[in-house]
Symmetry: C2
Subunit: 338 residues, 2 copies
Amino acid sequence: MKRVTIEDIAAKLNISFSTVARALNDHPAISEATKNAVKETATRLGYRQNKVAASLRSGRTHIIGVIVPNLQLSFFSAVVHGIERIMNENDYNILLYQSNEALVQEARGIDTFLQSRVDGIIASVTQETREMPHYAEIRKRGIPLLFFDRAIANLEVPSVVIDDFKGGYLATQHLVDQGYRRIVHINTEQNLAIFSAREEGYKAALIANGLAVDASLIVRGPLSLALGEATVDRFVAQQIPFDAIFAVEDFTAMGALQALKKHKIKVPSAVGVIGFANEAFGSLVTPTLSSVDQQTVRMGEESAKLFLKLLQQKGKVMPPEKIVLEPMLVPRASSGNF
Amino acid sequence: MKRVTIEDIAAKLNISFSTVARALNDHPAISEATKNAVKETATRLGYRQNKVAASLRSGRTHIIGVIVPNLQLSFFSAVVHGIERIMNENDYNILLYQSNEALVQEARGIDTFLQSRVDGIIASVTQETREMPHYAEIRKRGIPLLFFDRAIANLEVPSVVIDDFKGGYLATQHLVDQGYRRIVHINTEQNLAIFSAREEGYKAALIANGLAVDASLIVRGPLSLALGEATVDRFVAQQIPFDAIFAVEDFTAMGALQALKKHKIKVPSAVGVIGFANEAFGSLVTPTLSSVDQQTVRMGEESAKLFLKLLQQKGKVMPPEKIVLEPMLVPRASSGNF
């Protein structure tokens, strides 16, 4: 198959090479009618721009690298969909790198993106990330950087996050409204800001409702189905009374739900359960799992839009913008009859 | 932060610059002891290779591009995990591009990877992909290419797949073994080889068990929860008798399961259900969903291993190797008491 060239398009339309080339690059001197005719003909003939040459000319690749901790969480794949939609519409392509929650992988991902000469990086950091010489390197090179969901506080980088404190508060207030009083909270032992903010929200909601914060009801461990299950097993074995569980993410909540079933403890009549993140499986299980939605696709879209602004500002120093989205309570059967 | 150089490592160990440089590149003339000392010191000092310069020297980037149709299916994210594990161990980095099942996105992904000068591409094609000038382009440039799960038959490209015919056969034979006789089959209207092979397996198993293939029990549509639900709704409304459902993928099976519940039809005693792909939610729902496992992580690992062979063969013409993995029946509560 012979490659279609600018000359082929020019010959077809009987116009000059430079008119075609400028039309393809949206040059202001070319009329809309001509641009449309050139683009239609280009599409019809199967013309494909030599992007390597184009990027060498412009110094831009129109590639944005996105670093995600774990694509097996539907949260991250949904955010990525939002980012892709907006960036593709704006003629950028998205490449993904999965850090698998490991700092060393995250650093490799950044290296790989720099090597691919991406125009910018959008990232959500790993659970291990505390210091970030590798992120500082990106900024030193003047490459636009934006964090979503998991940001790093002491680095002045624009970010799109949700109000995790409010999310924790909403979840807990909901359980209180449903009549639950001894609310177990399951969280991680790792010091990630989004997770501690949810815990602060839990505590604030208890206090606002005149309930005591009972340290024996706060459990920490590696977030997982197994942690949720082990927590319920231990509370049942030690006969510690509780009537609700708020887990900091859905898989842990799901493990608790399964263990309650195993112990023949009725959900939601005896114990209510709520998770966080509104993972895709929550609406499929029985009882359906209450959760807190993080507006994932919108988070992706807002990230992309803010990032497009950054790309335009390139070079100028601006105070970093921070967009905070509202968490949304998703009450389902595990915390009442919805 | 000053960048650590080869000179710094050489000074620290009191050896020559060229010894350090060759040790870092695994040169055979350098002893294992020296290599280990150099690598340890490099890690300790925070030395990072200038990969752009290194790749310009070698003509290699050590980046492999992976094209996946949809990361919201746990099937694909699990395969990606397998690919990453093996490729990272071998000092390759994986970049992902999501085609979202659209041919035009798939072509953009390939363009983006070529522009990033990847050393090779591993792909699973979209449901729309019939012809593939964009894949042919990769081969013309001599860039190694491998398909996983969804391959294209008429292109002579190495691939790692499962035996989809056998998977369809196993699922159907299992339902027959459980005593079901009027087995509805839900499939796509799109002509993708993996899905038609599963249907052939369904038909072959019926015939082998002396059961008729009844065209009125075979339903086609866009695979989704909604399709599974609509199928059950229609069969119930039209009072068409059936006692089992084999859906070609799990989300459609899940939709059927939910509709059966809605109509108060008992699963598995009145109707048995089995899906395909062993998506992560299947073990979380009630009743748990029977399925056919595709050995996802192993598929990823085998893909990576075969790909490493291709990278070594570069230039040589070899008959394309095809690895066919065995599907594995995962019987759960939706088709019996497991």
